[in-house]
Structures are given as structure tokens and as C-alpha cells.
Point group: C2
Chain length 292, copies 2
């Protein structure tokens, strides 16, 4: 269907979705949008996107449906409710959920879509709001190979590193693996700087010593300095990270897998949330170690 | 005393020490060496270094003493025994322990040295055998500022990133902060790849998705591929990492600090050692998760 103009329903125009949908629109695709809060779609509507009053109606108007919503419960309602995306989608369409969600839910949606003659892909992303804005997201895909090939040109408008990891659910599994690495990785630099501070060292100078070697990580180098200057503004919300860790722990339990690092990080972030810091960035873990 | 030729005692000519001492010798400094196993000093002796039968005798022949030995007990014996380095060192000399060791032992050595008219620095390194060979070690220094300034030109022959972090013990504290970050950082990528594998994904492809973003770390990128191809040869020995984690946990306990990530990692590496894998590289943690 690509590279000619494709009719795309874009459901979920929050910080991430808005940037991603913008790239599709600017590339000349016909955009049908729905969002819980209509105001958040205003820019897209002004740029020529067409508004619909429900996810199902937007889906019915398009050949490709892309969703970026909040929690797995939102994904389930959007896709599987009576007048939802799967029920309303045109036969032969491709449905792409780019929310970070449950692998088993992704498999259920793929089965339901397949039963109605469409194909569903799970394609969560990493790279955050900046990656979305600059169209260099990492896109981790699960689902039917032919459907993936069909929509690859659309993915290429939103991301740089696009890999299909297997059947339905595999994209979600890969994203959860990413979040599992982030979980212990946050403890790593937070505990190092907490220890340095308690030992009477200047943690910023310690970062200069340890930030370039075998102990270094993206999180240490990018979030460490923010935490040290008391900047806990969200790049990635504590509440969203908690959702992802919950999903990963559930999925690990299904796989009969013991992940002690993840379990320890989850407990710590529960304490971060209990401090009322759910809407801070994930670097608020440093605040938990040093203030509580 | 620098940049003119300095008389240096170098004690401990293992893999790291040998490379480091070689740089000093090639820069024109007079080198006095001692090592438990004389054969390991053969290259240095052939290149003009002078052999001594004990650490104390080597120290007595030099104005700067550098030690790179194994465990804190070795450091203590080398410095504080009756005919050890502190007792034998010339007044006014600078004693530099570059072993990863205990911060409180570093303070005791500095006090003992000071009482006899010499100055002791703790200056552990990171960067491994390759960093030592290429003279681009990270050197983390604690101790007297004037002594640090005097030997800075010698450090510059062995390392690139050289920072004094405070009084005696501060270098060791910084190095332990580095090891604290490595500890949870190992769980991070190992758990991510273990999860991916259990979920039926190809962990090498997962690394392609997650190795460049917010979940990435030096360890993930450098040790992950080795672990996946079953290469557990030591870059950094499990037994040495366990020593460092023990030191960090002891030091954290003195500081009344709870570091749950470090504690979880230490428990896992105890299990790695219990498998008989003490002489494998630290990436053997992946083997523990996937084979046991």
C-alpha cells in the first residue's frame, strides 16, 4: 500500500503519538485521528487530519490503524470492546499497537484480528519524546511477517532501528527486556552515587571518573547529572515505569523466571511512588536513596 | 621530583602491574621491582629494572613506591608488616597503593606513613589489562594533595583520567562506587537477555534493539555478545569482583547504607562462585541465569 498515500487511523495523540502521527501526515498520508482528549489532537487537525468520535470509527475509515495509548486496560478496550478497533477495522487492514503493553494481550488481539481478516502487530518503541520528535525511535515488532513488510515504510517514517522479533507478542517481549535492563540499571548508578555521597565524595566528580568506563551506562550519563542537580522532572514517568515493571514481572512469572534484580528495583519504585513521586522522572530513585 | 628521572619501587608485577611499570621504565625512570613470583618480573628485569628480595627492600631503594597486589590482606602485609613498605620507606617518599582495597585500610596506611615522614596515596584504577597496556587507565586518587601533585607526572604515564577525590581512602571509595554500579549493571543486561531468551526471542537480535538506547551500558554492549556466544573467558575475574563487592558491602555497612541492588548482585555472584566459576569472567552471571 506504500509508498503511495495510505489511509491511516491514529489513536492516541499524547506526547509520543502526536509527534509520530505528524511524521505520517507530513509524508502525505491521509490521517484519521481519535484521542480521549480532543484538544491534544488540535495541531494534527489543523494540519489536515480528520477527527472521529471513537477509536472504532477512526479505524473503519482507514487501511492501517496505529494506537499509542496508556495502559494495557486501555489497549484492551480500544481493540477488543464491542465497537472497538478489531470489530470496526476493514478486512485486510493492518492494526499496530505501539503502546508498551502485555505480550499475552498482544497475542489475543492478533488472534481476534486474524479471525476477522485483518492482521495485528505489536510494535512498542523506545527513544522517548525526543526520539519520537526526531523520528529516530527504536521500534520492536511482533506479528505476521507479511503485515510487517507492508507497513515497514510507515515505521521508517517514525523510527530508525526497526526489527521484527517474531510472532505476535515478540515486540512486547523485546520492549519488556529493555525495561528489565533499565530497572537494575537505575539501581546501578543510583547506588554508586549514593555510596559516593555517603562516603564524603563529590558525586559529580565521581561521575567524571566512572562515567566513561566499565561501569557506565546511558542512564548514568544522562540521568545522573540531572539527579545530582535536583532535577526530577519527568523524561520517563515513575508511574509508567512501574507499569512496565509490573508487566515484566507478570510475564517473567508466566515464563517461570526468577529475576531478582527486577524484583528489587520494583520494590524500590513502589517506595518512590509511596512518597507521592509517581509523576516525577525515574531519576527520583536517587531522591529515595538520599532523602528517605 | 619529576619530570627528571625518579627512583621508583614497583611492587606487584602481575598483568596490570607489569604494563604500568613498563610505561614508567620506558619514560626513563629507575625501576626497583619486587613480586611474589619473580618470573612475572622477567620482562622488566630484562629491560633494566633492578630486582629486590622483598617489598621493604625495594621501597628502601626508591623515592616513590607503587603497589599493585591482590587482596586487602596483601596490601596490609606489604605496607604494615615489620619490614614492610612503611617501615622501610625513605623519609619524604610517596607511597601509592593502586590495588582495589579497603578505604579504612588506606586511611590506616596513610596515618602510619605520615607518622614516619612519608605520604601514602590510595589510587586504584579501572580500565583493565587493555587500559593498563595502552596507558589510558582511570586513576581515582585519595590522600595528601601535595603528594598527589608531586606524582601526577607518573600517573600521567599510566592513565588518562586522573582525579583526586579527597583525603586518604577517597580513591578507594570512588573505585568501590564504580564497582557498586557494575554490580547492578551486570544484573541489568543479564536479566534482560535471560528474559528475552525465555520468551523465545533471539537475544542477539534483542541486543540490536536495546543496545543503543536508554537501557544500554558498557557491560551490555561489551559483555553481552561474549556471553551469548558462550565465551566466559575472564576480562575481569568473578573472584576479584566478589572481593570488590565484599569491600563495598563492608564499607556501606560502616556508612549505615542499605544498597539492595548491590546485595542482590553479591548473592548471585556467590552462587556463580559456588558453581566453581570463580576463575571465569564476570559475564558468567549469564550462565548462572540460563543454565542453573
Amino acid at each position: 500500500m506504500c509508498p503511495s498515500s495510505t489511509s491511516i487511523a491514529f489513536i492516541g495523540t499524547g506526547v509520543m503519538g502526536r509527534s509520530m502521527a505528524g511524521h505520517l501526515l507530513r509524508a502525505g498520508h491521509a490521517l484519521h485521528v481519535y484521542n480521549r482528549t480532543k484538544e491534544k489532537a488540535a495541531d494534527l487537525l489543523a494540519a489536515g487530519a480528520q477527527w472521529h468520535d471513537s477509536a472504532g470509527r477512526a479505524a473503519a475509515a482507514a487501511d492501517v490503524v496505529i494506537t499509542v495509548v496508556g495502559y494495557p486496560a486501555d489497549v484492551e478496550a480500544t481493540y477488543l470492546s464491542d465497537h472497538g478497533v478489531v470489530a470496526q477495522a476493514r478486512p485486510g487492514s493492518v492494526l499496530i499497537d505501539m503502546t508498551t503493553s502485555s505480550p499475552s494481550l498482544a497475542r489475543r488481539i492478533a488472534a481476534a484480528a486474524s479471525a476477522r481478516g485483518s492482521a495485528a502487530l505489536d510494535a512498542p518503541v523506545s527513544g522517548g519524546d525526543i526520539g519520537a520528535k526526531e523520528a529516530r525511535l527504536v521500534i520492536m515488532v511482533g506479528g505476521d511477517e507479511a503485515a510487517f513488510a507492508r507497513v515497514q515504510p510507515l515505521f521508517a517514517l517514525m523510527g530508525k532501528n526497526i526489527i521484527r522479533h517474531g510472532a505476535a507478542g515478540a515486540g512486547q517481549h523485546c520492549k519488556l527486556a529493555n525495561q528489565v535492563a533499565i530497572a537494575s540499571g537505575m539501581m546501578a548508578w543510583v547506588e554508586a552515587l549514593t555510596y559516593a555521597r555517603a562516603a564524603g565524595l563529590d558525586p559529580a566528580r565521581v561521575l567524571e571518573s566512572i562515567g566513561g568506563g566499565a561501569a557506565s551506562s546511558w542512564a548514568m550519563v544522562n540521568l545522573g547529572p540531572r539527579a545530582l542537580r535536583g532535577d526530577f522532572a519527568p523524561g520517563f514517568y515513575v508511574k509508567h515505569f512501574l507499569k512496565d515493571m509490573r508487566l515484566a514481572l507478570e510475564s517473567a512469572a508466566e515464563l517461570k523466571l526468577d529475576l531478582p534484580g527486577l524484583a528489587a528495583a520494583k520494590k524500590l519504585y513502589d517506595r518512590v511512588a509511596a512518597q507521592g513521586w509517581e509523576d516525577l522522572g525515574t531519576q527520583a530513585l536517587y531522591r529515595l536513596y538520599t532523602e528517605s
